[in-house]
Amino acid sequence: MRGHLVEHRAGRLKVQQGDQIPELKVTPDRYLTVRYAGASGDFNPIHIDEDFAKQVGLPGRILHGLWTMAQVARAQTEAGGGPQSLRRLEVQFRGMGLPEHEITVTGTVHEVRDGVAVVHTVAEQDGKAIIRNAEAEIAL
């Protein structure tokens, strides 16, 4: 994998500023928003009802922002070696994510301090950031 610079060494991560975390690619399928609505309890019709979404001026059903944030989180925990590694994640939601379009999460280590890697990360779809200015803290 290109940019595969975060390495596991005897259970610890060896990272330095400028390293990229492994890229995560995911394509939400046609019914993803329905499954996520059930899993999360967020049944806002803009996510699950195509007609309603169009009536309120959207191009169609849009992804739940917190689902997209979960993809950003997953990229960090996969880089960090598990769920216990993610200490903090802050994101800004921009634009709208759409089902059936591939999402790519990338991230770069901004600094390493006190056993924590601070990662600047972004989620893009069709060349546009749908999550931007995101910052994660991963315990090393």
Partner: protein
């Protein structure tokens, strides 16, 4: 566009904590929905072998156990959000110990800030989630914009 009428009186308002019982199958359902493949979230034996009592909730499962605690603020007339013009603009979570199936997580929500800039209303909520042992498992900052219209 006319500006949003912003009332800041609700800043500091606190809502009664809401307790969420974390279920094993709910964690699995959530893990499948977000594409988690780590066996800690799916396989009880794998989770136990790693030293956890039961399957582990992915960090972003916070959005599930916080949900019923956060909801009332969005519909509180004292906060005054126009839901039709609401955009969830930003989110932060800071995590403590991992949540596992069988935990009871209590979430208290407060209104951290309400302000108006350039005709739009900015509403920031804070959630503090605590497990049955008194450990803070997650602090969430929920940022919302209500656009003028």
């Amino acid at each position: 566009m006319p500006p949003v009428a912003v009332d800041t009186a609700a800043i500091g308002k606190q809502y009664p904590p809401v307790t969420y019982a974390v279920g094993r199958e709910k964690i699995r359902e959530y893990a499948f929905a977000v594409g988690e493949t780590n066996p800690l979230h799916l396989d009880v034996e794998a989770a136990r072998a790693a030293g956890y009592r039961d399957v582990v909730a992915p960090p972003m499962f916070a959005s599930v156990y916080c949900s019923r605690a956060v909801g009332p603020a969005y519909f509180d007339p004292e906060v005054g959000i126009d839901f039709a013009r609401l955009v969830h603009s930003g989110q932060e979570f800071r995590w403590g110990p991992l949540v596992v199936a069988g935990d009871e997580v209590s979430t208290a929500l407060s209104i951290k800030d309400i302000s108006e800039r350039a005709g739009a209303g900015f509403y920031v909520f804070e959630s503090v989630s605590t497990n049955q042992d008194g450990d803070v498992v997650c602090v969430g900052t929920w940022s919302n914009i209500v656009r003028g219209g």
